[in-house]
């Protein structure tokens, strides 16, 4: 009776919920930065650097511009963290089932993952500074570019398995091992679109430092900025877990310790791919990004869907 209440609460708050996600996010940032640095021929940060950055930033003075709408300005970082943490609860990690799940949770997770982006937009536009406003406009423009290919890419495993829940997709691929290999194009599209979602080069247009200073984050400081950074770190983990769950659904349902190890390796693999992509490319311009997403990524995602439908018909 008591465990029926306490265990879910602990699950949500500690493991594998919020606290785990925070730690994983900070470690993910360390991994990304270290790998990025090594690829640059630099030494890179020590293990606890992301945590130190977070603590230092959080202890700094926070400034809210006089012209800004203070309430929304302060609420947005919290909203970003909350939405990301919420999305994480529906993503299965090492078992077939997520902590919570229902038919259609794939769509909900995608929408929850869109909320941080919207919070960047609102935070930027309500801080009223020039650079932040331009950054905010770029955030939404970018959203329209990468969101469609990302949705389309995630559609094909769902169509294949005939389920709209991430756990359902995972179970389907558990029953049909190696079928996930048919979704590799979709994985590539999803990976590239995630670079936009996570605001990384070549799609870090919204906070392009050399162009618009800090983009939407220009006016943010102190713990608000720290929370935004944490939200992005957490989002990286959620997106990688989602991609791993949907596109790399193997090694599930094993012994928990082994399963956890495989999960960590999968997430690390996805993060490493994202890092590699941002190492070898230059930042695109917003118009070039739009053209790229609509003319190349979206058709590729459609190709994947058609391939999936044909295969499904042929194999069953």
């Amino acid at each position: 009776m008591l465990s029926g209440v306490v265990v879910p609460i602990l699950n949500v708050l500690l493991f594998p919920g919020l606290a785990f996600l925070c730690v994983a996010g900070l470690f993910g940032e360390y991994f990304d930065r270290k790998l990025y640095a090594r690829l640059h021929n630099r030494v890179g940060p020590p293990l606890l650097q992301p945590l130190a950055d977070f603590v230092k930033l959080a202890s700094k003075q926070e400034l809210v511009p006089r012209e800004a709408d203070g309430r929304i300005f302060r609420a947005m970082p919290v909203a970003a963290v909350a939405a990301t943490a919420c999305a994480f609860l529906y993503v299965p990690m090492w078992g077939y089932d997520a902590l919570f799940g229902f038919e259609g949770d794939l769509i909900v997770v995608l929408y929850l993952l869109m909320l941080p982006t919207l919070s960047f937009f609102l935070g930027g536009i309500y801080s009223t500074s020039l650079f932040a406003s331009i950054g905010a406009l770029r955030v939404v423009t970018q959203l329209f570019a990468y969101e469609v290919p990302l949705f389309l890419a995630l559609l094909s495993p769902a169509l294949m398995s005939g389920s709209w829940s991430i756990s359902g997709i995972a179970s389907f691929y558990g029953a049909h091992p190696w079928w996930w290999c048919f979704n590799l194009i979709g994985f590539g599209v999803g990976l590239t679109a995630s670079l936009g979602k996570l605001e990384k080069v070549p799609f870090d247009i919204a906070e392009a430092e050399t162009e618009i200073v800090g983009g939407v984050f220009t006016e943010y400081s102190g713990r608000h900025l720290a929370l935004f950074h944490l939200a992005i770190d957490m989002e990286a983990i959620v997106v990688s877990s989602l991609l791993a769950a949907v596109f790399l659904p193997f090694g599930l349902g094993l012994d928990p310790a082994l399963g956890f190890l495989i999960y960590c390796l999968k997430v690390a693999f996805v993060i490493a791919l994202l890092t590699l992509l941002r190492t070898v490319m230059a930042r695109l311009r917003i118009d070039q990004m739009m053209a790229f997403c609509w003319k190349i990524l979206a058709p590729l995602a459609f190709l994947q869907i058609i391939a999936c439908l044909v295969l499904k018909g042929a194999l069953e």
Partner: protein, 411 residues
């Protein structure tokens, strides 16, 4: 969408030195660019008049931290011309070698900065790591990584021995191999080409009418290079071609610079092989006879011009410096027309700007009104002195009082 005015500078992450660009935008497209210079005026020309020629060599070397050898060479060449000093051939070769090594370090530095401006930090890290090779060679030859202090009026301070020669050749081989890799990157890396092509377009005619110099001009197909047009130092004895390109955009400027690196390596090899034995400096008089001279030097950024007027004393009457960036700045607003906001940093960076070398004058404006309300007015020394005294008195510092007290102590 309504027109928006975005200030890029005086303080902005894309600019390494303070300079102001006010960009009028419609959406992301640039409609107009307002430019203002003068945030980094250091009064060097005036300071040069109060120092001796020998001191001026060191002062003018510090106009620029990157093309310091260019400025000191341009100055000593002008003084040597006025004084009629015959510079020994070996000294000319050493000047050429240091000048070309400086070009290598400047171009590699630019390549890294350009990478950073378009969010390609990997290129920055790689280019700057390789730049260390040439920095080490420069410090081996001259004792300094920047501001080499190798020039003297009448020659150079340091000779190059056989051991150093071997080390330079070894470093050049390594750099050549790395540069070939960068040329490959520039020709093949898709995002780089997409970001740079067609950006910052400057046609051949615009180069001529705006008087652009250096790689900015050569990338528009104009073979304008002082080393060829008006050879100084040992350039007349070296075989090299002026690298040009027909792209007329930032991509072309990138190709010109990496292409120039390859030419530079061959020039350094030739200079080391042909360097004659002999003296490295001629004796220079302390007083320079009255006269004037104009000296041109092809700095990594373009033509650098020094004008020196001597009045027969040991101090120059007037020194005038035209840094290459000044010649290229007018072209920047032309290049930016119709481009995207995202292109501003790379277009500005593509002329390899050196704003603090360029700034020569301050114009006072009333800050509330911005540029439009500015009225230029000149004041004399006496009025300036009175103003200074009043300004300090207003802040509670009275020099009259201070002088009296100091005077009392001295007595």
């Amino acid at each position: 969408m309504a027109e928006m005015k975005i200030p890029i500078g005086p303080q902005h992450p894309a600019l390494k030195e303070p300079e102001s660009f006010l960009i009028s935008l419609s959406g992301e497209r640039i409609k107009d660019v307002g430019m203002r210079l003068g945030y980094n005026h250091r009064g060097m020309e005036k300071a040069a008049e109060q120092r001796t020629y020998v001191q001026d060599v060191y002062l003018l070397e510090r106009i620029c931290g990157i093309c310091s050898h260019s400025h000191s060479t341009a100055f000593v060449q002008a003084v040597e011309e006025i004084a009629g000093i015959e510079v020994p051939p070996r000294a000319k070769y050493i000047r050429t070698i240091v000048g070309e090594l400086e070009r290598v370090h400047s171009h590699l530095l630019w390549l890294g900065v350009a990478g950073h401006e378009i969010g390609f930090d990997t290129l920055l890290m790689y280019a700057w790591r390789d730049r260390e090779i040439v920095m080490d060679i420069l410090s081996l030859l001259t004792g300094n990584r920047v501001n080499y202090a190798v020039n003297a009026i009448g020659g150079v301070h340091r000779d190059i021995d056989d051991d150093q020669k071997a080390q330079i050749l070894k470093a050049i081989d390594k750099l050549e191999e790395r540069t070939k890799y960068y040329i490959e990157v520039a020709r093949e890396e898709k995002t780089l080409i997409t970001r740079l092509s067609g950006v910052g377009y400057l046609s051949k005619n615009e180069v001529l009418s705006l008087g652009a110099v250096g790689p900015a001009a050569r990338a528009s197909g104009i073979a304008r290079d002082t080393r060829k047009d008006d050879p100084y130092a040992a350039y007349a004895q070296l075989d090299f071609k002026v690298v040009t390109d027909e792209h007329c955009d930032v991509y072309g400027r990138t190709l010109v610079r990496v292409g120039e690196l390859m030419e530079t390596y061959s020039m350094i090899r030739q200079a080391l092989a042909r360097m004659p034995a002999g003296e490295i400096a001629a004796r220079a008089p302390r007083r320079v006879p009255a006269g004037e001279a104009l000296s041109r030097y092809e700095a990594p950024r373009g033509e650098d011009v020094h004008y020196v007027k001597a009045n027969g004393t040991d101090k120059p009457e007037r020194v005038r410096v035209r840094a290459p960036t000044l010649a290229n700045l007018q072209a920047v607003s032309k290049m930016l027309e119709g481009d995207n906001l995202a292109d501003v940093p790379i277009v500005i960076a593509a002329i390899d700007p050196c704003f603090s070398c360029t700034d020569r004058m301050i114009r006072l404006v009333r800050s509330e009104q911005g540029d439009s309300g500015a009225e230029a007015r000149s004041i004399g020394w006496e009025e300036m002195r009175v103003r200074g005294i009043e300004w300090y008195r207003g802040r509670g510092v009275d020099f009259a009082d201070l002088n009296a007290r100091l005077g009392a102590r001295l007595c």
